[in-house]
């Protein structure tokens, strides 16, 4: 993929991210932050490619470290967001 295409994609996705966050109720601020944090664990794709390349011992070892860190971000991020939202839902139920 050429650089210009990448810059176009990056720029459009940046503006899309701005539009995604509309009027969010304050109770959802932390879950939304946590959910977005889980998405930033997408860097695991880069970690897998680095480790999978098997380029040299040092690079493969760094790939392993990156996979562990990124997977903690991904799995921890989604699980913790789900826990927050689970509580949120039952709270709403109590009010009714």
């Amino acid at each position: 993929m050429d650089l210009v295409t990448s810059i176009v994609i990056f720029t459009l996705a940046t503006f899309l991210g701005v539009e995604l966050i509309g009027r969010v109720p304050p109770t959802l601020h932390t879950p939304l932050m946590s959910g977005a944090n889980a998405v930033s664990g997408i860097t695991v794709v880069g970690a897998l490619i680095v480790a999978g390349g098997g380029y040299s011992t040092l690079v493969t070892a760094l790939g392993f470290v990156a996979i562990v860190l990124a997977m903690m971000n991904v799995v921890g991020g989604y699980a913790v967001t789900d826990r927050m939202l689970e509580m949120f839902k039952s709270k709403q139920g109590d009010k009714r």
């Binding site: 650089l3 997408i42 040299s56 493969t60 990156a66 996979i67």
Partner: protein, 270 residues
Amino acid sequence: MSHEIVQLLYLVAAVLFVVGLKRLGSPATARQGNLLSGAGMLLAIGITLVEVGSMPHAPGTPGANPALVWGVIGGGVLLGSGLGLWQARAVKMTSMPQMVALLNGFGGGASLVVGAAEFLKAHETGQNIPLETGVVMQLSLLIGAVTVTGSAIAFAKLQELMSGKAITFPLQNPTNLVIFLVTLALAGWQVSTDVPLMAPFLGVVVAGLVLGVLLVIPIGGADMPVVISLLNSYSGIAAAMTGFVIDNEVLIISGALVGSSGIVLSSIMW
């Protein structure tokens, strides 16, 4: 799988992130949104594993031994998932903001390590890094490093491992500015040389780590959630920069989404 199918499936994952994040913003759909986004992540990881399986390997490298490569990947995925799940279960509901800070630091750390690995790959062979790759590589190292230590300080303040009070010292802002300018100079040095150099590489990483600390210590505990949201945005930008380095669209799209939505969320929370 052909390259085109891989790219289209990455696009499906990116769409799931977009719809998931949108739904996270409304109480009725938030939990479902998180699940959709998680499905996108699972898809992205699955496609990447298929792609890794078809990567060419030079003889004599660790990659020439498939058992080793899959052992490293499988071990890393299992260990990281296990630790992540354990933390998510163990954390108290009242400790959620610092948990997000911690996880965010791990994500930023992963981007930093991937950037470092890409640099070392070029350094080991002494091969020239193209100008544009060099620029984004410096950014991914710098932003990744700032995210790691910044998140660590945010975590330490909220967890009361250190004082939650704002820490200030004379000439704080000029000091930060000088360190930032030195970092830019080091990055410029690296980008302008023909062969990858170790000294500016280490310099940029260390300066980024120091900057992360200095940027977060003057902020008090009460304002920390806003800082965490901002650092979350940084880790997204770091992921997008890593996407430019390894030429991967799904990283660029998702990183940019998190980068900009995090900044908007910080300003709403402020």
